[in-house]
């Protein structure tokens, strides 16, 4: 407990120093940029730009130069087939390429035809990177168990072991019951995907992956699928023939129960999306204050507050991963619960 606490404190300290350094510099950069071009600073655009997906990974601006990492655009359409090219061809949305152009950050076909967009956007890149980090971490942890077989855990293994055991014993086991082992791989992956995704999203310049509704939707749908496919007679009985409900009320209760099947994962999707995106918006709004007031003092004050909010966000990152996994376990638990 003590070790974990000190680890957490050390991490928080490093994070706050990094963030303070970063956010103390960026306001000046932005200020100069807006001063030089004479553009009006629009906090809404700046915030939306940071929390939404993009076809390029934007790091920072020096004067009029955008420092970005162009990402591959992958398009499939019935007319043109598969097309793969770099997003650098769009020149930050200023020019069109191969009949496609960016309209306010959205990819559109110039002749208006329908197409499927499989582009590696900023969020997809962050997703792939996060997944690789996750695979690397947990394969290392698994290797630790092979190396220290029957011995005390070491290194990264001893950091993740209590968390894995916590997820297993405190979240999954009590909520699902005796059949918990089948769902453990999914729920452990879910927990660490959200947790690591949330924390990576807090890094300066990172993508808002777990605060994207597409990502949370897919995760919620997986939980819905897991629930529906493991649901037993007892579960369906409670929905289509609720016990102890008078016959006259059944036409009302049954539709409510059916809506309930979908409202549960819907709430999962919205909760994670809102919690993470709202946190990012709060931080970005506080930073925007410096540009609105054109003041270094305000910038300094907001940096202090942002550092504090960032620490809360680290907490929120963990809580949201916990909550998503907890509710997923509860929904699956309801589906596999035997009749008492």
């Amino acid at each position: 407990m003590n070790i974990e606490k000190s680890f957490f404190l050390r991490n928080a300290l490093i994070t706050s120093i990094l963030l303070t350094t970063l956010f103390s510099f960026t306001p000046f950069g932005f200020t100069f940029a807006s001063d030089d071009t004479g553009e009006e600073f629009n906090p809404g655009d700046m915030i939306m730009h940071h929390v939404t997906d993009a076809y390029e990974w934007h790091f920072f601006d020096i004067g009029d130069t955008h420092v970005t990492l162009p990402l591959p655009v992958i398009i499939y359409s019935g007319e043109n087939g598969l097309k793969i090219f770099s997003s650098a061809h769009f020149h930050h949305g200023e020019s069109s390429y191969e009949g496609y152009r960016l309209d306010h950050g959205h990819l559109v076909a110039e002749d208006g035809h329908e197409f499927y967009d499989f582009s590696i956007t900023k969020n997809v890149a962050a997703l792939l990177m996060g997944s690789l980090i996750m695979i690397f971490i947990f394969l290392s942890v698994a290797k630790g168990y092979q190396k220290n077989q029957g011995k005390a855990p070491k290194g990264i293994q001893s950091f993740f072991e209590p968390i894995i055991i916590y997820v297993r014993d405190e979240i999954v086991k009590p909520n699902i019951g005796p059949k918990y082992e089948r769902y453990l791989p999914y729920l452990l992956t879910l927990f660490f995907f959200i947790w690591i995704g949330n924390i990576l999203g807090l890094l300066p310049g990172a993508a808002n992956l777990t605060g994207n509704i597409a990502v949370t939707m897919v995760l919620a749908v997986f939980t819905l699928i897991a629930t529906l496919f493991s649901a037993n007679k007892n579960y369906w009985g409670h929905i289509f023939n609720p016990p102890g409900v008078p016959l006259a009320l059944k036409p009302i209760i049954i539709p409510v129960e059916i809506i309930g099947i979908f409202s549960k994962p819907f709430s999962l999707m919205l909760r994670l999306f809102v919690a993470i995106t709202a946190g990012h918006i709060v931080i970005l709004s506080l930073i925007a204050l410096a540009f609105i007031f054109h003041s270094v003092i305000v910038g300094f004050a907001s940096t202090l507050v942002v550092t504090f909010i960032n620490m809360i966000e680290i907490l929120v990152a963990t809580i949201q991963a916990y909550v998503f996994t907890l509710f997923s376990s509860m929904y699956i638990g309801m589906a596999v619960e035997e009749h008492h």
């Binding site: 894995i164 509704i213 897919v218």
Partner: protein
């Protein structure tokens, strides 16, 4: 509006990537990790159970030893008691036997003495009779050496006879 519109590409990549991560981690990370954890927990529980069992066995063994010791003690006491009793009995028997033998010997001795006494007495009697006869003979011979004496005696006898 853009915030709450899920992008098609991201849905696709998220589905594919997440499934891949679940599959890879499920096979190469969660399975060995969870198995190792379970194995370790089982081995700890087994060790604890074994220790508890050993403790119980030890207690049982100790109780059994105590019982055996008690039994041995009882047996020893019994053997001692029996031995004492046997010894006493033997002593008593020996004493009794000795008494009997001495009594018999005394009796025999008495009988022998009596017999000897009787034999001696009867011998003495016969000896005395012989001696008496011899004496009487000698006396008679001496007394009847002269005729006067023989006459007086015959007279006497006749007188006696007359008197009768």
């Amino acid at each position: 509006m853009e915030l709450i519109t899920p992008g098609f590409g991201l849905i696709f990549w998220q589905t594919v990537t997440f499934l891949a991560v679940v599959f890879i981690l499920g096979k190469y990370a969660w399975k060995p990790i969870l198995n190792a954890l379970k194995e370790r927990e089982d081995s700890i529980e087994d060790a604890l159970n074994a220790a508890e069992k050993a403790k119980q066995e030890m207690a049982e063994l100790k109780a059994e030893n105590e019982k055996l010791l008690d039994q041995a003690r009882l047996e020893r006491d019994k053997i001692l008691k029996d031995a004492t009793a046997a010894a006493n009995k033997m002593k008593d028997e020996a004493r009794e036997e000795a008494g009997k033998i001495s009594a018999k010997m005394l009796e025999d001795a008495k009988n022998a003495i009596n017999n000897e006494k009787k034999a001696a007495l009867s011998e003495i009697k016969s000896e005395v009779a012989v001696l008496s006869i011899q004496i009487a003979e000698k006396l008679l011979r001496k007394n009847l050496e002269d005729d006067n004496t023989q006459k007086s005696l015959v007279n006497e006898f006749i007188k006696d006879l007359n008197n009768n």
